[in-house]
Structure formats: structure tokens, C-alpha cells
């Protein structure tokens, strides 16, 4: 084991290398490209015994990944944002083949307008596809999660592809100290890929991914994938135990931080959660009983664990770095459905949408979100969803609109709102 500074992209490449991936179908897209460049370089210099092929699109890339996995090799690939969406038909399709592989997604906001900076709408667009999803908060987690993802994907009770998500820029281009497992231990942990009856061989013909007629068989096959995804939860815990035994790092399905005696709990995905951790410490220093839950698993959704961890809490603030138009934050909705009807569910579940397209969340904003949630608990009124957006940001947009010569018929001027006093629009 050695500890060195690696970017999130570098850590992802190391994950593929240590997992002994055989095959890497690739297509460049910012902010993921460094992953495939790193792997290509290792393959060229014979540091890694794999084959990398650059396809002509992500749609083809995911097809090749699924097809190779279905032929019985260990496959790794990576994409981001528009690339993930371009491949989306195949994301759904290959998940149904029940051929395991690992796909890294480097989160980046979706068009329109197009951006390079991160949020989680891309990976959450693949939420219902049959891919399992692990969301990472540090570069170390990226590497560790890829190793764990192969174990999860290839488990005979699961047999589904797994997506490992990291935030663009905030992890992809950011170096942090990462402990590299030694190659032998990593290889022992991941094990060799036994495709069992999922492979094409001259002596054993298989017709894979065939059509069905009628809803009966269709429902059967689809629901079986769902059951496999659900059983991945239990498998995940076993894999996490084994990982901890070998490497000394524990990666829970939900990372829980100072929640035991917390009255108010923040819930969020991804790398911004480390900022939330820092804010939790600062609030603790100020005598506030605040904690943080960060789901690493989004699929399968660890609903039972959420219920336990949030039982008896007074209020929860869910921070979504995504936006479902006409609905709001996706994680908020998922958590609400998990908690509905639970006898000890927190009475207040506040929704904040923040960090879209790389927009930062400041320390003060974490404090203010907790303050709004506390006010909601006191008044026993669930607050309307809030977008974290400042007066200064709106003023800046108004300036841009002036350059764009938007018809400024009646552009409303921003109005400051007091914490917890927002009007529902």
C-alpha cells in the first residue's frame, strides 16, 4: 500500500487497473477524458494488460461494453453528462442483459444550456435503468468503490452493471491523498470473473437479449432485474465487510456523520458532502445537534437504513444537486417515499436545491439551511422547497441578459427573503 496524490480521474483509472479490467471501450468527454487517457497510456506502456478501443459514440461505447461483458471479459468504461444521455438507450438495454461491468460517470450538468460543470442530473437520469449506483465523496472512495463495484456487479445474486459516480471538477480534477492498495490484495479481493453461462462460445450457443411477446414474460424479466438490484443491498454489506477486513476502510451504504444524538440531519449525495461535514462540526462547536447522512448507494436505495438512521429526528434538510422539472429535488422525493408512514419518521423534511452546474455551496449556506429547518420544526410547518440562489447571482444574470438584449419588458428585481420566510410560488 502506498499513499499518493491522485485526482478523482486518476483514482478511477487506478480502480480499473487494480480490478484487472480486460476491456475498455472509450469515448472522450469533459471532465472524464483523463480517465481513458491514463488507461490508454498504461496499456501502451504495457503497465496494464487490457485492450482499449475508442468507439465513434457513447451509444456504441455502451453497446460494445455490454457485448464484451456478455462474451465473458471484465469491462470498464467511463462517461459523463451528454455522453451518458447519448448512450441512454443502451444503458437501459445492456442492464437487461444481466452482464456485469463497471461504468464510471463523472457528473456534469445537462443541456440546455450546456455546461461543463457538475451536478447530478446526468447520473440520476440513469436512475431507473437497472444499473446500480454508487456515489463517491472523495478520490479514495472512487478507487475503493470501483473495486467494490466489480464484486457487486459480478455477484451471482446480482449480475447487474454498476455505475460509480464522482463529481466533475470537485473530484475529477482535484488531487487528494489516496491510498493505493497493492495489486495482489486488490486482485484477490476482486477475484477472477466467472461469467458462468453468460458468454458466447462456439460449443455452447446462446441467444441473448431476445424479444418477448406480451406483458407476462416482459414483467417477469424486468421485475427479476429489480429483485436482483434489491438483493444487491445485502451483498453490498458483505462486500463492504470484506473490503474493510482487507483494506481497513469502511464504506457504508449510507455514510452517517454525527447523527446519533442529532436533532436535525442534512442529507446529500457526492463530494459536497465533505463540506457539509465540516459545517456539521462548526455547528456542533456552536452547540447545535446536527448530523449528516450521505447515501453512497442510490440504487438499490437503502430505504430501511434511512428509516433507522432518521428515526426520532426532528427535522431533515435534503440538499439535491439535481432538479426534476415540475417536481423538484429527486433525493427529497425518494427519501419522502422511504419515510412515509413510518411511526418515527421526522415530521419535517425540507427540500433544498443547490449546486446546479457547479454552483458552490458555502459554509454559511449550510448553516442557513439548518436554521430554516429548525424554524420549520419550531413552527411545525414544512417549508416550501428552496433554490439556493443569492441576490448577487440574480443581479449578475440580469447583467448577462442586458448583453443578450433580452426584451426587458418587466424584469422583476430580486427581493431578499428572510431565512425560513420564503413564499411558495
Amino acid at each position: 500500500m502506498s499513499r499518493s496524490l491522485l485526482t478523482g480521474n486518476g483514482a478511477a483509472a487506478w480502480g480499473a487497473r487494480l480490478a484487472l479490467a480486460d476491456y475498455i471501450p472509450a469515448f472522450p468527454i469533459t471532465p472524464q477524458t483523463e480517465i481513458i487517457e491514463t488507461l490508454a497510456n498504461w496499456i501502451d506502456t504495457e503497465a496494464m494488460a487490457a485492450r482499449l478501443v475508442t468507439l465513434e459514440s457513447e451509444h456504441s461505447m455502451i453497446t460494445a461494453a455490454g457485448a464484451a461483458a456478455a462474451t465473458g471479459v471484465r469491462v470498464f468504461s467511463a462517461t459523463s453528462s451528454q455522453g451518458l444521455l447519448h448512450g441512454m438507450e443502451m444503458i437501459y438495454t445492456v442492464a437487461g442483459w444481466r452482464a456485469p461491468f463497471v461504468l464510471v460517470n463523472v457528473s456534469r450538468g445537462l443541456a440546455s444550456p450546456i455546461t461543463l460543470e457538475p451536478d447530478h442530473n446526468d447520473v440520476l437520469a440513469a436512475r431507473d435503468s437497472g444499473f446500480l449506483q454508487i456515489h463517491c465523496a472523495t478520490c479514495q472512495e472512487v478507487l475503493d468503490s470501483i473495486l467494490m463495484a466489480y464484486r457487486l456487479a459480478e455477484n451471482d445474486r446480482v449480475r447487474l452493471p454498476v455505475m460509480v459516480n464522482l463529481d466533475g471538477f470537485y473530484l475529477s480534477f482535484t488531487r487528494e491523498p489516496v491510498t493505493l492498495p497493492d495489486a495482489k490484495t486488490a486482485a484477490d479481493f476482486v477475484g477472477s470473473y466467472d461469467p458462468e453461462n453468460i458468454r458466447f462460445r462456439a460449443s455452447a450457443p446462446v441467444s441473448q437479449a431476445v424479444a418477448v411477446l406480451g406483458g407476462g414474460p416482459y414483467s417477469y424479466f424486468r421485475y427479476e432485474s429489480h429483485l436482483a438490484a434489491e438483493s444487491a443491498l445485502e451483498v453490498y454489506h458483505q462486500v463492504a465487510d470484506e473490503f474493510e477486513n482487507l483494506f481497513g476502510r469502511r464504506h457504508e451504504a449510507i455514510d452517517s456523520y454525527r447523527t446519533d444524538d442529532a436533532e436535525l440531519v442534512l442529507v446529500m449525495l457526492g463530494s459536497f458532502a465533505t463540506k457539509a461535514q465540516q459545517a456539521v462540526d462548526q455547528m456542533r462547536d456552536a452547540g447545535q445537534a446536527v448530523g449528516l447522512l450521505r447515501p453512497r448507494l442510490m440504487r438499490p436505495f437503502p430505504r430501511q437504513q434511512f428509516r433507522q438512521l432518521l428515526a426520532g429526528k426532528k427535522g431533515v434538510a435534503v440538499i439535491d444537486q439535481n432538479l426534476s422539472m415540475g417536481f423538484g429535488g429527486i433525493l427529497h422525493g425518494e427519501l419522502a417515499s422511504a419515510l412515509y408512514g413510518q411511526p418515527e419518521a421526522p415530521p419535517i423534511l425540507a427540500s433544498f436545491v443547490a449546486g446546479l452546474g457547479g454552483r458552490d455551496i458555502t459554509g454559511e449556506e449550510f448553516f442557513a439551511m439548518v436554521e430554516e429547518t429548525r424554524a420549520a420544526v419550531a413552527s411545525d410547518q414544512i417549508p416550501p422547497p428552496r433554490l439556493l440562489y443569492t441576490q448577487a447571482e440574480l443581479r449578475e444574470v440580469r447583467k448577462l441578459q442586458a448583453v443578450a438584449q433580452v426584451e426587458r419588458v418587466e424584469l422583476k428585481q430580486p427581493q431578499t427573503v428572510q431565512g425560513g420566510q420564503a413564499n411558495e410560488s
Partner: protein, 313 residues
């Protein structure tokens, strides 16, 4: 696989009697009766054999394998309309990796075959095909070309010929555009082999598939697929219409190999194209209620011009 010339150097298929008399592709498929595409596929499958994995794109033949039925004695993978060649890439690469890393015996290797309709080949799948050729993928591509989106009711595709009536061009002059020259588009990539075939010329077809199998790299075949449902004719006419397509010169049989273009059948006395058109309901508006000489002549002229270049070239 037994597709190379014998020890005396004779091609495997010299006469009709050399063609297989028992057939490999299973019966019981849901293809329309009289399907010219299925006819071509079963002739082709006899030559390729069951040491093969077919990578399919959305189209009529997606329904060849409906759970739990498949006519293939070898393997099959359904991908999507746009990306069958990429599926072939993944399977071919995986087989190579497995052999290279000694995790699979060479005897378990297979011919990787893409099977798509014209909707995919001429349109949505063209980029993936181009990419596979760029990468010099070792694969065989079979396009069954029934000149329209047949599986959805024969709407106009990139392969629909000038003047044909389709579900989306129901007017008096049919489709105003022109059938895309996919053979030339493919050949422009300089792959190992490109050929046109048709089920009604089984010896020509067998020789070409045999030849394709003896080569490495991208090998692409377009089979014109007379389609009783989409072209509006009685199933029993399927072979006759195919023959007529060749005799009128509407479907030139040719190959591209080693950088050369070769016509494998040059009709000595080309029949007028209207004899081919008249057999099909999709061209009925050229003859009834009034004969449309302008359009018929235009179609004939284009065919004449094509063949003039062939004889002069």
C-alpha cells in the same frame, strides 16, 4: 468452417449442385411468408455455419428470436437499431482477449456477424458501421434491404427507390428522393470486401459469402430482400421478382475486393425496368389509372446510365 477452396484450388461452389440441400437455420420464425430477406438469410447461414454469433439491430429480424424461440443454432445478441456494429466490436474484442489471455480455446471462436435491415444500415446505423470499418473490425455485415422501414409498415427509408409508394409517401409520384448508394459508401471506406446479393441468385450469393469468409477485416453484404408485405405482391412471386430485379438491371450484382469493382452478373439483354415495377403494388401508381411515362422513363434512364458506365468502365 469449410469455406476455402479445396486442395485442388477449386472454389467450393461451382454449380447449383454444390449448394447445401439441408438447411441450418431453424424453421418456425415469425417472418412474413415469402420473405425475401429470410430466404437470403437462410442461404447465407448455410455457408457461414453455426460457429457464429449474430449481432442484430432493431428491424424485422429482431423477431427471429422471441423468447424462448430462436432459429439460430449458433449464438445471437440483440443490441439496438443504431449500434449493432459496436456490439460486434465488443464481442470480437472480447473473444480475442479471451484467446490471447488463454481463457478460451481457439476452437470456441466464432464468426461475428452483424444482421440489420436497411433502416439501420442506410440510416441510423451508418455511423457505427463507418466506425467499425475505420477500426478494421474483423466482422461480417449482412443487410437485408427491403427498401423501407418494413417492420413498422413500410415507411420511406434511406433505401427506398425513386417513385416507390410507401406509408409516408402515398402521393401520385411516390418517394421523390433516390435510393442511397450504400455499396459505394461502404466501399469508400476500403474494407476487405463489399458485395450485393439476392436470394433468387443462390449460386452467386454462396460464392460471395464463401469469399467473404475467406477474408479478414470488415466484409459487408447487401441482400436485396423482395418484401411481399411492403412491396405489395403475392408471396409466391418473391423469387421471380428478385430475378426480375437482376434481369432489368435494377439490382446490380457486384463486389468490391482488393480495391477493384467487379460485376458478377452483367445482363446481356437487360429487360425494361417496367417489367420489374409492374409486379409490385408499390409502383402501381406508375401504371394506373394512367401510365406515368415521365416517371417510368426517369427510372429507366437512371438504370441505363448506371450500366453505360459499367460497360464503358
Amino acid at each position: 468452417m469449410n469455406h476455402n477452396p479445396d486442395s485442388a484450388g477449386n472454389p467450393r461452389f461451382q454449380r447449383m449442385k454444390d449448394l447445401p440441400s439441408t438447411h441450418l437455420l431453424g424453421t418456425g420464425t415469425p417472418m412474413c411468408s415469402g420473405c425475401g430477406g429470410l430466404a437470403a438469410l437462410h442461404e447465407i447461414y448455410d455457408i457461414i455455419g453455426d460457429k457464429s454469433v449474430f449481432i442484430n439491430a432493431a428491424g424485422c429480424m429482431t423477431l427471429l428470436s422471441v423468447y424462448p424461440f430462436t432459429p439460430f443454432r449458433g449464438s445471437w445478441l440483440y443490441t439496438s437499431m443504431a449500434s449493432a456494429p459496436a456490439g460486434a466490436q465488443g464481442v470480437r474484442d472480447a473473444l480475442d482477449i479471451l484467446m490471447q489471455k488463454r481463457r478460451m480455446a481457439a476452437s470456441e471462436d466464432m464468426e461475428v456477424v452483424v444482421l440489420t435491415g436497411d433502416g439501420s444500415a442506410y440510416g441510423m446505423g451508418l455511423s457505427a458501421t463507418s466506425g467499425a470499418m475505420e477500426r478494421n473490425l474483423d466482422f461480417l455485415y449482412i443487410c437485408y434491404d427491403n427498401e423501407g422501414y418494413g417492420n413498422t409498415g413500410q415507411q420511406t427509408s434511406g433505401a427506398t427507390p425513386h417513385g416507390a409508394r410507401t406509408a409516408t409517401n402515398r402521393g401520385l409520384s411516390g418517394f421523390p428522393g433516390f435510393k442511397k448508394d450504400l455499396f459505394s459508401i461502404w466501399a469508400a471506406h476500403k474494407p476487405a470486401y463489399v458485395a450485393t446479393v439476392i436470394a433468387s441468385e443462390p449460386l452467386d450469393l454462396a460464392r460471395k459469402i464463401d469469399r467473404a469468409l475467406s477474408l479478414k477485416g470488415p466484409r459487408l453484404i447487401i441482400a436485396l430482400a423482395p418484401c411481399p408485405t411492403g412491396w405489395e405482391f403475392e408471396p409466391q412471386q418473391s423469387v421471380d421478382i428478385g430475378r426480375m430485379a437482376v434481369k432489368t438491371g435494377a439490382w446490380p450484382l457486384k463486389e468490391y475486393i482488393d480495391g477493384e469493382f467487379v460485376h458478377t452478373r452483367i445482363p446481356r439483354h437487360r429487360l425494361p425496368v417496367e417489367q420489374y415495377l409492374q409486379l409490385q403494388g408499390r409502383f402501381k401508381h406508375l401504371f394506373e389509372p394512367r401510365r406515368n411515362d415521365v416517371l417510368i422513363n426517369e427510372i429507366q434512364d437512371r438504370i441505363d446510365r448506371y450500366w453505360r458506365n459499367v460497360s464503358s468502365g
